[in-house]
Amino acid sequence: MTTNSHRDTSATTRIERHHYDVVVIGAGGAGLRAAIEARLAGKKTAIISKSLFGKAHTVMAEGGAAAAMGNVNSRDSWQVHFRDTMRGGKFLNNFRMAELHAKESPQRIWELETYGALFDRTKDGKISQRNFGGHEYPRLAHVGDRTGLELIRTLQQKIVSLQQEDKREHGSYDARIKVFSETTITELLLDGDRVAGAFGYYRESGEFVLFEAPAVVLATGGVGRSYKVTSNSWEYTGDGHALALRAGATLINMEFLQFHPTGMVWPVSVKGILVTESVRGDGGILKNSEGKRFMFDYVPDVFRKQYAETPEEADRWYDDPDNNRRPPELLPRDEVARAINSEVKAGRGTPAGGVYLDIASRLPAEEIRRRLPSMHHQFKGLADVDITKEPMEVGPTCHYVMGGVEVDPDSGAAYGAVRGLFAAGEVSGGMHGSNRLGGNSLSDLLVFGKRAGGHAATYVDQLTGRPRVAVTAVETAVETALAPLQRDTGENPYTLQQDLQAVMGDLVGIIRREAELEDALARLAELRERVAKVSAAGGRRYNPGWHLALDLRNMLVVSECTAKAALERRESRGGHTREDFPTMDPQWRRVNLVCSLVGDTVRLERKPLPKMRSELIGLFDRAELAKYLTDEELTEFDALVAADAAAADVEKENR
């Protein structure tokens, strides 16, 4: 190992140095899959993670991983999956990413079996697939309600198996792939416009560490910690988003945040914890405080054709999905979240500000325990709520950020003014458009994790010289990192975090208004001053206050992007709802909002959406497209169809 410690000339700080070909920041599904690919391509790879190995956020995913394997309904195909994804994202998705995702996810899931994963099975021994909101056919590969755990453990064990190979071949487990757990990256270092390395600290000791590497893959997940009610852990402070911005990359779609419709709102110990969508897939229904099953009142026009109009029809769907339309409880998440919000605002909510999700009265207790074992266990254990006996109190919870690093769809390489930077997983943007379908994230991690890892390796191969880390850049990084510890006049980081969460939760939350967004931007500017002066008590060894103080500036810049983009986009679409512009506007569908950093201010630009290839747009009905596209685009579509028809005629004649 090329590790050596040396004394930095300016500061008396020890900095451990490592040299790698590819550094992957993040040990969730995307990071681990990227690292496996880079290692398989022969690159010396480091995996860096803020928490212990195997604890990343991916572990929490419950429902499953979407892949059109067609094991349960053979009519499923990548085309159908592609259509569902575009519909879910309200046609704002990067179509190429949605296409690659739909095509490659079955392969990525099958591959997991060769690593040792054990999914639930169908009767004929294939991987079983379950229904989920927004997916036309049963499509989610799953293991009970702990699919994320299976995914991360499988990848973790695959990495161990590669390390065992390396041990046999090179005598050391760490010869070609090494995991740096409980290590936080605070800065990316550049050589001109090329990535040269990553700088960070070991949480345990507070010592600094420098990774020199020509290629960095960001797989740092999301931003949810900026919100009051969230399903996300302390890790989700938008580090990757902020690192990318500071390195010269761009972020897109930052106004789109997914609020999971059914997070627990009561009791406190489970506040923010999600009730998996499979509760609704398995028959759970939503009721307001008057006991009314209200979702039938909230089916938007674009979905009328697919959703039942009466409770009787909806109930028949569970047993006979081919001849009945689905219950409205299975509408995409944003629709459900919005419906709940409206009910609560109209005064029909529960005392804690949610609505009731009832499965207890719909299935026998035994069946509930069998289908939802960990849900049952979790609520019984945490809150003494027995979901087989009483309804749950649920409400919208900040869950997922659709926005993220703007990347090249095929390679995951970040756009903007930087080379050698790749992004995959929740930290990247574009794939899910304005709203993500449940289950599409886990498969997204695998598909684009593999691509980013592979392309990072290719990028390293074609480099002629190694970029070099500038000493001054390291010195600045050290200073920035130590600053909160050296100040004792500033505010407590926890207070600042609470204030930030209040601003984002109250003013840039699920329903947005122009005046509030402007107010939010003003408050964020004030917070920026305060965060610049934050001070942390204690020393450098495992000091969570210090860690939070360093994370705050990332949360802040990412929140600014969200607030700015939310103010700019004057329409409602997917994970962005403007009360003052309540409908979708086809003109806005053609626009991506792109954030970059100039000095330390966020700049927002409009960028046209790439145009879908003709064979892909041909997969949709004209009637459906009419809901999303401008007249101009529709005319184009008609011409395309006419041309196709003509071509077909010519072919017929020629035969």
Binding site: W110, R146, E204, S233, A536
Partner: protein
Amino acid sequence: MGTKRQFRVWRGDAEGGDLQDYTVEVNEGEVVLDVIHRLQATDAPDLACRWNCKAGKCGSCSMEINGMPKLGCMTRMSTFEENETITVTPLRTFPVIRDLVTDVSFNYEKARETPAFAPPADLAPGDYRMQQVDVERSQEFRKCIECFLCQNVCHVIRDHDENKQAFSGPRYFIRAAELDMHPLDTRTDRKDYAQTEQGLGFCNITKCCTEVCPEHIKITDNGIIPMKERVVDRRYDPLVWLGSKIFRRGQVPQTSVTSGHSPGAVRSSAAGGGVHSHAGGSHDAQAEIQAQQGVNWHREVPHPTAPAVDASGKLPLTELTFDRAAAPSPFGDDVTFPLPPEHLNFAHPDQDERNH
């Protein structure tokens, strides 16, 4: 609506530390981790503690609460009395880094040593076919969230650092069991491995690991015992060996089965082929099952107390200073005979029938 509660939290690092008292507000419906977070936000911003999911899914927040190994995020405050002082300490089996954070790298090393899944060579991805009933056995073990509470509670390594090299611990026994039971794993030596490399023989089925597992994995019944049962015809296992002795001779056991308790627990030597290579008992499986029925595994096994030796490693006692004539009892002065039957590992083979 909050009430003030008393907390004692261990603060310190590898050099040492002590319990510190805090009075902290607790609201209805909160868990211990919520209270730790409140401490961080108020009195102790640098209090170190691991957590991620706050939902019992990631296994990060393991700690000892009133001495019981638990997940902080799954321990409801309502399970304590209002006036009860709650003591929170780090996991004892692993070296402390700071406050409630311990160095759990031992577990990752053991994980790395366990041979990985060996996929069938002739099956392409997508062609794997398995029945639900067949995957379920392994799936139980794959529920493991790696909280390491079972590792922490296992007496073989708790307070016995010297056993750590030879003993992988319950978490990794079930990993071996999981692969052993995997319908498509092509390695056939999983049990052997557990015995020779993981130190399965150290385990005397006290079931403490099963008791603390937050995922309710039946570590012993479904993992360890099947692994032991099937190695037994080839390998010596002190537990089964002892069990069979008791049954065959119908005797009260003379030795305690807590071999792992004694600091001098025998190390595995690869050359010797197994832990405890000093004896070899080969038994047929049926006899083993019968043997086990004769043993009362649920008995609380008392920890042997170490004698109070002085700096030279000897008792501060000579024949002259001793207050009695003749030698003391080898069983300890506080032991009287006959021993009370409920303290024995022996259970009558017919006892269940008699109860009917």
